[in-house]
């Protein structure tokens, strides 16, 4: 349950570029989303993941295509890294028909059956028991796959967290619970919401193998996630991984951030996972300046393409309003 030591395994240049690309894509995509929000192209709630990218990138690289993923309402990064087309995600945030949820979900409800991405769930801790059920189905159907469920530390104060942990341990189902501990449940700090701030102990209470990791360090997250995923696969039992991280942006677009000091944010920014990972790659000489610039240019184009695509997308006709309230049956 100690901090997982930093990986010393060298990355292949190709793998390094891919991971860096994902981190930068998530960052730039969200910055663009914030811009488009202020331009009123995106409405509703918009929760940004900026600062936490190493968690999604580090954990999801440990998964396979057949695994299930459930995330929270701060899930743009997970959706991008999982492989949902950026254009379809942007279109979803625009509320357009071509969005990954036909525009019906918006920023908080990205869904994609092809990548087995089960949301985008906006009731805190509401999706944890579903993750248990998905894993239960896999177990019953003897499918060799796991279910990865992301949630914040705020969810761990909910009864639903404890019910899900209990059931997962009781039924011995393959769930990788990933707590993204960004220290704030909306605007209330961890120390004001949890009596026990060593969060991984809560997994231990259910007899679930638990670990925690520096969520600002991509390589550390990768290693912890690889180990956790491997444990889940090999045992068929749940694992609880706490990634200690920090969000640089406000909780949502409409947040004055009265609950934390600017200096605290600045302090955390010194540990920004993207420059950290970039410096590491430079030092290890697996990435050149030119390659980095190429990634930046490519990401910029991807993000712009996503916006351009979303701009051209259509609105679902109002006549379709009640569609998918119930399944469409073949008559």
């Amino acid at each position: 349950m100690a901090q997982t030591p930093k990986s010393t395994t060298p990355l292949s240049p190709e793998q390094a570029r891919k991971l860096l690309h994902q981190m930068i894509l998530v960052r730039r995509f969200e910055e663009k989303a914030a811009e488009m929000y202020t331009k009123t192209k995106i409405r509703g709630f918009l929760h940004l993941y900026i600062g936490e990218e190493a968690v999604a990138v580090g954990v999801l690289q440990a998964l396979r295509a057949e695994d299930n993923v459930l995330a929270t309402y701060r899930e743009h990064g997970h959706a991008l890294v999982r492989g949902i087309d950026p254009g379809k995600i942007m279109a979803e945030m625009y509320g357009r028909l071509e969005g990954c949820s036909r525009g019906r979900g918006g920023s908080m409800h990205l869904f994609d059956s092809k990548t087995k991405f089960y949301g985008g769930n906006a009731i805190v801790a509401g999706h944890l028991a579903m993750a248990v059920g998905l894993a239960l189905a896999d177990k019953k159907m003897k499918r060799d796959q796991l279910t990865c469920c992301f949630f914040g530390e705020g969810a761990m104060a909910e009864g639903a967290f404890h019910e899900a942990m209990n059931l997962a341990a009781l039924w011995q189902v393959p769930v990788l619970f990933v707590c993204e501990n960004n220290l704030y449940a909306m605007g209330t700090a961890l120390r004001y919401t949890h009596a026990q701030t060593n969060l991984e102990l809560k997994g231990a209470a259910y007899g679930i193998a638990s670990s925690s990791v520096d969520g600002m360090d991509l390589l550390a997250v990768m290693q912890a996630a690889n180990m956790a995923a491997e444990a889940v696969r090999s045992t068929g039992q749940p694992h609880f991984l706490v990634c200690n991280t920090y969000r640089f942006r406000a909780h949502s677009m409409f947040d004055a951030e009265l609950y934390r000091e600017k200096s605290e944010v600045e302090e955390w920014k010194k540990r920004d996972p993207i420059p950290g990972f970039l410096n590491y790659l430079m030092q290890q000489q697996v990435l050149t300046d030119v390659e980095f610039k190429n990634i930046e240019t490519q990401v910029e184009k991807e993000v712009q393409d996503a916006v351009d695509f979303a701009e051209t997308c259509s609105w679902e006709p109002v006549e379709e309003l009640t569609r998918y309230t119930y399944s469409e049956r073949k008559s």
């Binding site: 979900g105 994609d112 769930n121 509401g126 028991a129 579903m130 248990v132 239960l136 899900a164 059931l167």
Partner: protein
């Protein structure tokens, strides 16, 4: 002759036998044999993989049922009684009912939730709820009410075939009641209300425990020369307007009967629809007999007074028909 309990059990047995993906989970469904002995011996018959005891964890196991349904299983989730269902209401209302729509049609939830409901055993306020209206309020759910032995026996199969979440209300007070099952009818169309008795003078529109009460009342009314039609709504969401309107158009009068308390009830909705769609067929104002607006009390005489009784149905019908 079969008890209502036996009907429920046979339905579950049949479902478990017919589809490997079906499994039953809930509190005390296995080793205990079901809180109301509905699933007695099923654990022995089907094993712990198919009959899954859960902790007292409604949000957890209902959520797990949703997840299992998403994962391709056909879970039957038993919430011991409706009284505990609110612990799982977030799962039902925010997940089961919304996922299909919110995902733009990508993820449907083929889940069946059974819960025992209603009044009648002196269980007092926290264990006597009739919350069908509460769940019938939610788009995305199909709400069924098994008011007869026939439906207790044959409603589960079509519910499991439904691609979307279905909640079946069963009734504690009917468990020991014995009835003959008609051999002809088996498959239940879970989109249609059912006329349980034909009549021309008035439509008694009801569901759940109201069905046998209305049939009893209709029997007595027949001795007075009044032919009451008994319409079992059976599907509380989405309501089967066609059958309701056909009945009211035939009898031109309607008395709505339910145990749930009157305000914002199923009968509120049915009454409104009759007014909207059938106003010019009405020869009398739509009338209602509903539960009293009170937490259900413990003493038998007060409990009886809190919900409609057949004698009240009889006298109300006679009043509507100006029958001396």
């Amino acid at each position: 002759m079969l008890t209502y309990r036996e009907c429920l059990k046979q339905a579950i047995q049949e479902a478990l036998q017919g589809d490997e993906r079906v499994f039953l989970l809930g509190e005390d469904v296995g080793r205990y044999g079901g809180a109301f002995a509905v699933s007695k011996n099923l654990l022995q018959e089907f094993g712990p993989e198919r009959i899954l005891d859960t902790p007292l964890s409604e949000a957890g196991f209902v959520g797990a049922g949703i997840g299992a349904a998403l994962g391709g299983m056909r879970p039957i989730v038993e919430i011991m009684t409706v009284n505990f269902s609110l612990l799982a209401l977030d799962q039902i209302a925010n997940n089961a009912a919304t996922l299909l729509h919110m995902s733009g049609g990508q993820f449907n939830v083929p889940l069946v939730i059974r819960m025992s409901a209603g009044i009648g055993k002196q269980l007092a306020a926290q264990h006597s709820h009739s919350w069908e209206p509460l769940f019938a309020h939610l788009p995305g759910l199909r709400i069924l009410s098994a008011g007869t032995h026939q439906d207790a026996r044959y409603m589960l199969a079509p519910a499991l075939l439904d691609p979307d979440p279905v909640i079946i209300f069963e009734y504690t007070s009917l468990l020991n009641l014995e009835k003959e099952l008609s051999e002809a009818a088996d498959a239940v169309d879970i989109s249609k209300a059912s006329v349980r008795r034909e009549g021309k003078d008035i439509s008694l529109i009801t569901y759940g425990t109201g069905v046998y009460k209305a049939l009893e009342a209709a029997e007595e009314l027949a001795t007075a020369g009044i032919e009451a039609e008994v319409l079992d709504l059976r599907i509380l969401r989405p309501l089967d307007d066609d059958t309701i309107m056909a009945s009211v158009s035939k009898t031109n009068r309607a008395l709505l009967v339910e145990d749930a308390s009157r305000s914002v009830s199923i009968s509120s909705e049915v009454s409104t629809r009759i007014m909207e769609k059938c106003f010019y067929e009405l020869d009398a104002p739509v009338a209602r007999l509903c539960g009293a607006e009170v937490p259900i009390p413990y003493p038998k005489h007060l409990e009886d007074a809190a919900v409609p009784q057949p004698a009240q149905i009889v006298s109300m019908v006679k009043k509507i028909l100006q029958h001396d």
